[in-house]
């Protein structure tokens, strides 16, 4: 049955399903129990599954991830919540030095099926450290997998798939989209769902390919709608999985359109866009009518709330980039 759910609610129900399926799944994070999470993503779960399975942790991010490692060694499947993107850094060492490496250094004997949920991105008018896009640091770390959902249907299935995976997964949630609604089939079996580590063409077009993930997918779709009025048809690809990247569909698209624009909130310097551009250029060199362009946040710390709309890529900046690809 298809329901209309917000992205936040879709995550909530997805977490519930995962916990129902496997008693080893436990949630841990600051304020996720009684409060149900500052974004209410875990609302009602402690009441139904009990305190030991939904843990309100001390205010210590490194502690959240470090103890999750121990719990995983013990056989549990911890789903950790980092309250805001800007607060993941105290846990950075545990994530990249321990979580990422243990499977490798144990030659496959240790599995850490940990999911680290992080609300990310800006556009909510927040104060400092609440609007970051740290996905590149984790995508750059071998041993971690990184995904980003963009709509309620994907949020619902991807969170469950991430929990089922035996690999450690950093799960980015677009916080500015938490309240946007979409159709979700909550009865469909998870085995029918679109694979976790796969990108998807979500709008077909001929004139240029626009790549986005997380909060920028909506922006890219809006840009395509506006472009259609100008007689230009844009193909939009939701990348969904940031590490590993699934660029096969992207290469197919660029070979058809010859033009590509990558959009992300994170700054351009050494961002995910740089990696994507490098690979597209290598694989699609003979098909390119123009260089692959990036539309990104600027290379500054995230600015004050009242100018953030100028900082973040928006529909106009995306279409400006598309126009520029026609200038070569």
């Amino acid at each position: 049955m298809a329901e209309t759910l917000t992205l936040g609610k879709a995550l909530n129900i997805g977490l519930r399903r995962a916990m129902e399926r496997d008693p080893k799944v436990i949630l841990m994070g600051e304020d996720i129990g009684k409060l149900g999470g500052v974004f209410r993503i875990t609302d009602g779960l402690q009441k139904d599954f009990g305190d030991p399975r939904v843990i309100d942790t001390p205010l210590a991010e490194s502690g959240i991830i470090g103890t999750a490692v121990g719990l995983a060694i013990r056989g549990y499947r911890p789903v950790c919540e980092i309250q805001f993107d800007g607060f993941v850094y105290p846990a950075f060492d545990q994530i990249v030095s321990q979580v990422a490496k243990m499977h490798y250094r144990s030659q496959g004997k240790v599995r850490l099926p940990i999911v680290i949920r992080i609300p990310f991105g800006g556009g909510i008018g927040a104060v400092e450290h609440h609007s970051e896009s740290p996905e590149a640091y984790f995508s750059h770390t071998a041993g971690l997998k990184v995904v980003a959902c963009a709509n309620p249907a994907d949020a619902y299935t991807m969170i469950q798939q991430a929990i089922e995976s035996d690999d450690p997964i950093v799960f980015f949630e677009p916080k500015r989209r938490y309240w946007e609604k979409g159709e979700v089939d909550t009865d469909a079996p998870l085995s029918d769902a679109y694979p976790l580590h796969a990108s998807r063409v979500i709008r077909e077009g001929q004139d240029a390919t626009v790549l986005a993930y997380g909060p920028m997918v909506r922006t890219a779709l809006d840009a395509a709608t506006a472009a259609a009025e100008d007689g230009r048809s844009l193909e939009v690809v939701d990348l969904r999985t940031l590490s590993p990247l699934d660029l096969g569909p992207v290469f197919d698209s660029v070979r058809r359109t010859g033009r590509c624009v990558v959009v992300h909130e994170a700054p351009s310097n050494v961002g995910l866009g740089a990696e994507i551009v490098a690979r597209i250029t290598q694989e699609c060199f003979y098909s390119l009518e123009a260089p692959v362009l990036r539309v990104t946040g600027f290379n500054t710390p995230y600015p004050a709330a009242r100018v953030e709309e100028e900082f973040l890529p928006d529909l106009d900046r995306v279409l400006d980039a598309v126009d520029r690809t026609y200038g070569w």
Partner: protein, 392 residues
């Protein structure tokens, strides 16, 4: 403060040790639990005792000697270029054998990178960590198979892992199952004096106390973190830190295998019976260097080393055995011979460790694999095959 009111503040700790060191005086003897003096005499303690058979006393001696011998062999191997590095436990044998022997079979240990003595006492083949130090692998084994976690090089990180594991033990209902033969489990987390300053260790204390985790934090205070003396890590005796977090702390003579055993045994039992965490500070000394390329002569004085030499953990046990006539020359010779054999056996196996196949670099990064790695692996294989002299 008026009389009769509860104190609401603590005083600044006295800096006796630092001042004494600065003035050149030997540090004042600390207070700690001791059951066997450096001269090999038994002393009583009101709260702790051991009840060993003669065979068990001899067994402890054997363990201590073998552990030291294997450690020395590894040091020699490093000097000969067979190991890239070795972290010697010289001087810390009693703390490790004592606490290691206190663990029950079902207990789980989280070591640093120096607990070769604990590893030995868990019945694990001493060759296991040598791959890490030789550089042929990263010291990986299945923690659950051996009830002993992989060595952790990031200082203090393992204390959080241990705490999480202990939380899992409690979630599994394996705490407080009563009786001396219960199958309740406890967890021991090893770390050093230097680690006590790390954020992760302090977070582990917070979590352990808040969740009443069945864990013993075992700190081997060997007085140095590479070149930094203990005063650089704390202004109060380490065992007192626990009070600030709300659980008991105790200092034991880390060169006394009997006391180390007794205190650890009691703490583990408290943990497994649901009493929550405790901190044991094993007061000992790092007789060797931090690792094999370190030069301790640059930061400590010979007289300090000599003073600790007089408190050698193995000598006192030998003296005790001799004084109590629990062992004869034949026994000591037998122990030396066994230690020698085990050392040779270790050496042989180290020297025959095969170098890893470079293609294995790409394995086991993910449980579910990755297409990027698949293509990298294939490219690398092609590249390697393109050189003259390659097997392809």
């Amino acid at each position: 403060m008026a009389k009769g009111e509860p104190s609401v503040a603590t005083k600044r700790p006295e800096d006796k040790t630092a001042r004494a060191r600065a003035s050149g005086d030997p540090p004042a003897e600390p207070e700690f639990v001791q059951l066997l003096t450096p001269d090999g005499d038994r002393v009583e303690h009101p709260d702790y005792a051991v009840d060993f058979t003669d065979e068990e006393y001899r067994g402890l001696y054997r363990d201590l000697v073998i552990v030291r011998k294997l450690d020395a062999e590894a040091t020699a191997l490093q000097r000969q270029g067979e190991l890239g590095i070795w972290a010697s436990l010289l001087g810390q044998e009693a703390a490790q054998v004592g606490s290691g022997r206190a663990l029950r079979e079902q207990d789980m240990a989280f070591p640093t990178y120096r607990e070769h003595g604990v590893l030995y006492c868990r019945g694990i083949d001493p060759i296991m960590p040598l791959g890490l130090f030789r550089g042929v692998d990263q010291g990986g084994w299945d923690p659950n198979e051996f009830k002993f976690n992989m060595y952790t090089i990031v200082i203090g990180a393992q204390t959080l892992h241990a705490t999480g594991y202990a939380m899992g033990v409690a979630l599994d209902g394996k705490v407080g199952n009563g009786g001396p033969d219960s199958d309740s489990e406890a967890v021991i987390a090893y770390f050093g004096d230097g680690a006590s300053a790390q954020g992760d260790v302090n977070e582990a204390f917070v979590w352990a106390t808040v969740f009443n985790a069945p864990i013993v934090f075992f700190c081997q205070n060997n007085q140095y973190a590479i070149s930094q003396p203990i005063e650089r890590q704390t202004r109060v005796p380490l065992y007192q830190r626990a009070a600030g977090f709300g659980f008991p702390g105790i200092r034991v003579d880390g060169n006394d295998v009997l006391a180390s055993y007794a205190v650890t045994r009691a703490a583990l039992d408290d943990a497994r019976h649901g009493q929550g965490p405790s901190l044991i500070e094993a007061y000992t000394y790092r007789m060797g260097a931090h690792t094999t390329s370190d030069d301790p002569t640059r930061y400590r004085i010979a007289s300090e080393v000599d003073a600790w030499q007089a408190k050698d953990p193995i000598k006192r046990v030998r003296l005790y055995l001799e004084k109590q006539e629990l062992a004869d020359d034949g026994f000591f010779a037998d122990v030396d011979a066994q230690a020698q054999r085990e050392a040779v056996h270790l050496r042989e196996r180290v020297l025959s460790m095969p170098n890893p196949d470079p293609a294995q670099m790409f394995d086991n990064v993910y449980a579910h694999g990755s297409p990027l790695l698949d293509s990298e692996r294939a490219e690398f294989a092609e590249y390697v095959a393109s050189f003259e002299g390659s097997a392809h």
